[in-house]
Symmetry: C2
DNA sequence: TTGGGTGCAAATCATTTGCAATTAT
DNA sequence: ATAATTGCAAATGATTTGCACCCAA
């Protein structure tokens, strides 16, 4: 199991990966990002980071998120409504289901869909640089057909 | 072929469908929307509408787009970067390819992908209310494999 | 006539940026 | 030492809204 020291090491590694200085504010934000499983927006990340390091400003949260994104450490999502939401980059690529009632985010992955996307683009003379697939869903009623 | 009178009739019909009054400004905006094939944003629609009816304000463009959307007359898209872009609602549902170099929008449709989306959602206990699929693409070089 | 619609300017919201002070290296 | 980073406040950019006047039904 990883203790506080290990975690800080990871943060530091991620920051060095992004080629930027290790500051108190950035450590706090990275800690929050690492723990988050709910794709929070900048305001929420700021709120959580301040609990760890009171001196973090919202401007720094935005600035850091931008460099972390450029460094491939986090992914930025622009779901319907509200501002951008973030998640740490992990293993495999995935798309998202958004519960329209609760706002909850579920990740999923479909090789078949990815293949079909490439096929469609190819037939039209294009190649896919990146894509965006979001399913806005509602939980099925227990007894519904 | 449809003449000016026919076109105005269509506009009026669309406005009545949305349950709102027929004004000079709305006729102008609808005319612009009907002619557009490039998914313009509000600023661009405003610019074009002013050429027909100088008195249209940007605020009215936004207000009208909102009611037209609620009335099912237009669709609003939030592609990456910049503001919302609009298109008149037409026949079949479709998704979009966006040329990352030119900003051009190409429409496509894939029953297979739609089916897969429904399957995936169902397996997770959800049903798709609506979705969003955008392929950000680049034109394939002529001689590339 | 009269309530919906309009232009204008001011207000929001999310995000960015200028600048002087701070701090990691 | 010194260039990167920060907080703060002001600036942006897209979109919305309050309000007094206007016009479609």
């Amino acid at each position: 199991m990883s203790d506080a020291a290990d975690t800080t090491d990871k943060m530091t590694a991620a920051l060095r990966k992004a080629g930027i200085r290790v500051t108190r504010q950035r450590i706090a934000l990275l800690g929050v990002l690492a723990e988050a499983t709910d794709h929070p927006d900048a305001i929420e990340l700021h709120k959580r980071a301040k609990e760890i390091e009171q001196s973090v400003s919202l401007a720094t949260v935005y600035r850091t998120l931008t460099v972390l994104e450029e460094g491939g450490v986090v992914h930025r999502h622009a779901f319907d409504g509200g501002g951008a939401r973030f998640e740490t980059t992990h293993e495999e690529h995935h798309d998202h289901i958004l519960d329209v009632d609760t706002g909850e985010v579920i990740e999923f992955q479909s090789d078949k869909i990815e293949q079909l996307q490439d096929e469609i683009a190819r037939e039209l003379g294009y190649e896919v640089v990146h894509h965006r697939l979001e399913l806005y869903c509602r939980k099925k009623a227990a007894g519904s057909s």
